[in-house]
Amino acid sequence: MNKETPVWEVFIRPRTGLAHKHAGSVHAADEVMALQAARDVYTRRGEGQSVWVVRSADIVAFDPADKDELLEPSADKIYRHPSFYNIPDDVGHM
C-alpha cells in the first residue's frame, strides 16, 4: 500500500470544569473514524466526558530552533508579578 493513513491527535476532557488535554494519537482515514478510534483506545476506563480529534498535520507550532528567542521566560520583567508592587500592609489583602 503506498498511501499512509493520516495521524490525528486526541484531546480528552476528563470531566466538566476541566480543559481538554492531549491524550495521544490515532491513525484514521477521516474524522468519523478518528473519533471512533479515539474513543476505543483512550476512554476504556472512564477517562473522559468529551473527545476532540485534530489532524496532526493541521497543528501549527514554532520551530523549536527558535524556541530560545520566541519563548524566553521574560525573567527580567518582574513588574509582571504582583510582588513587584509595594502596598502598605494595613490596606489588607489585595
Partner: protein, 327 residues
C-alpha cells in the same frame, strides 16, 4: 504488556563532541527530550528500534492469548481475557505513536515486522496449548514486562515515557488476572494442579530470558544507561523479577523448574541456575516453536485488511470531494 531487553541496538553516532556534550548535559539534568529537540542520531535510532520492538511485541503478544478467547472456561474469564487482549492492542498503538514522533511511519514499522527485519519479544514464539498458559502469560510474562516497564516510565524520551505511564496504569490488572487463573488451577483437582505445574515448567525459563542477555554480553546496554533510556541493567531487572515471583509460586504450592534455585541470605535474593542462551538466540533468530506462525498470522491480518484500509481512504477522499463541490 511486553517488552524485552533491546536486541541489537546500534548506538553509534557521528555528531561532534560539543553537540554530544550539550545533549548529555540535558540528560544528566533529567530534562526530558521531546520530538523536535536536537538529538544524536544514535539516540534516535536506538529509540526507534527499541520502541518499535516494544510495539511489535504488544501486537504479536495478542496472538497466543487470542488463541483462548473463544475457549475460556467461564464468561468471567472470557470477558477479562478479551479486555486484556484489547488493552495490548491499545498499548501497541501508544508505542507506534511514540516511535512515529521520531520520523518513522507505522507502515514502515509494520513492513519491517512482516519482513522479519524487526524483532519482537522472544516469549511470544512459544505456544499456548493449555488454559493454564493464559494464566502463566498474565502472571509471569506480564509480571516480567512490568518490571521492565516501570523504570521506562522515567525514560529520557518524553513520548516513550508518557506512553509507558499510560501502559503501566492499564497493565495493573493483567498480572492479577493471570495469577488468579493459576491460583484457581493450583487449588483445584489433582489434574488441574498438574496442568498448572506443567505450564509453569514450560514458561519459567523463557520468562527469565525476556530480560535479555547477561550484562556482560549486552553490548549496547552501557550507552542506553548513559542516555537514561534504560535505568536498570538486564541482570538487575531479572533478579528483581525472580525475587518477587518465587514467593508467589510458593504461596500457591507450585515449584519453579530450577534445582539450583535457593535463597541467598547474604545478597537478600535468590540464586538461580544457568539460562539456556542457545535457546534464547535460536528463538530470537526465528527458530522458536511459533516464529513462523506468528509472522504468518500478522501477514495474513495485514493482507486481509488491505481492502478495508483502501476503502476507508477512498471513502474519506470521496466525502472531501463532495464537500469541496458543495462550497
Amino acid at each position: 504488556m511486553y517488552s524485552q531487553g533491546l536486541i541489537g541496538a546500534d548506538g553509534k553516532t557521528a555528531e561532534d563532541e560539543a553537540f554530544i556534550a550539550r545533549f548529555q548535559k540535558r540528560i544528566d539534568a533529567e530534562e526530558k527530550i521531546e520530538p523536535n529537540d536536537p538529538m544524536p542520531e544514535g539516540y534516535r535510532k536506538t529509540l526507534v528500534r527499541q520502541i518499535g520492538q516494544h510495539a511489535h511485541s504488544e501486537i504479536v503478544g495478542m496472538l497466543p492469548e487470542g488463541n483462548w478467547i473463544t475457549r475460556a472456561p467461564t464468561l468471567r474469564r472470557k470477558a477479562a481475557l478479551l479486555a486484556k487482549v484489547q488493552d495490548e492492542g491499545g498499548h501497541g498503538l501508544y508505542l507506534y505513536s511514540a516511535a512515529e514522533t521520531l520520523g518513522v511511519s507505522r507502515e514502515q514499522m509494520t513492513e519491517e515486522l512482516l519482513s522479519g527485519k524487526a524483532k519482537y519479544s522472544s516469549i511470544f514464539n512459544y505456544p499456548t496449548p493449555t488454559w493454564a498458559d493464559i494464566g502463566m502469560i498474565g502472571w509471569l510474562v506480564d509480571g516480567a514486562a512490568i518490571m521492565n516497564q516501570i523504570p521506562l516510565c522515567r525514560c529520557s524520551y518524553g513520548p516513550y515515557s508518557r506512553a509507558m505511564i499510560r501502559v503501566c496504569k492499564e497493565e495493573s490488572f493483567h498480572q492479577r488476572q493471570g495469577y488468579e487463573i493459576v491460583m484457581t488451577l493450583a487449588q483445584g483437582t489433582p489434574e488441574q494442579r498438574r496442568m498448572a505445574q506443567e505450564s509453569l515448567d514450560r514458561w519459567w525459563w523463557p520468562s527469565l530470558m525476556m530480560f535479555g542477555p547477561h550484562d556482560g554480553d549486552s553490548v549496547n546496554s552501557d550507552q542506553s544507561m548513559k542516555w537514561k533510556i534504560k535505568r536498570f541493567t538486564n541482570d538487575e531487572l531479572r533478579q528483581k523479577f525472580v525475587d518477587a515471583t518465587v514467593p508467589q509460586a510458593e504461596r500457591i504450592g507450585l515449584k519453579m523448574p530450577d534445582p539450583d534455585l535457593k535463597w541467598n541470605e547474604e545478597k537478600q535474593g535468590y540464586d538461580f541456575g544457568p539460562i539456556n542462551w542457545d535457546e534464547f538466540w535460536k528463538v530470537v533468530k526465528g527458530g522458536g516453536p511459533m516464529n513462523r506462525e506468528r509472522i504468518a498470522a500478522r501477514r495474513k491480518a495485514w493482507e486481509d485488511g488491505a481492502w478495508v484500509r483502501e476503502a476507508a481512504l477512498a471513502h474519506a477522499e470521496k466525502r472531501k470531494m463532495a464537500r469541496l463541490a458543495a462550497e
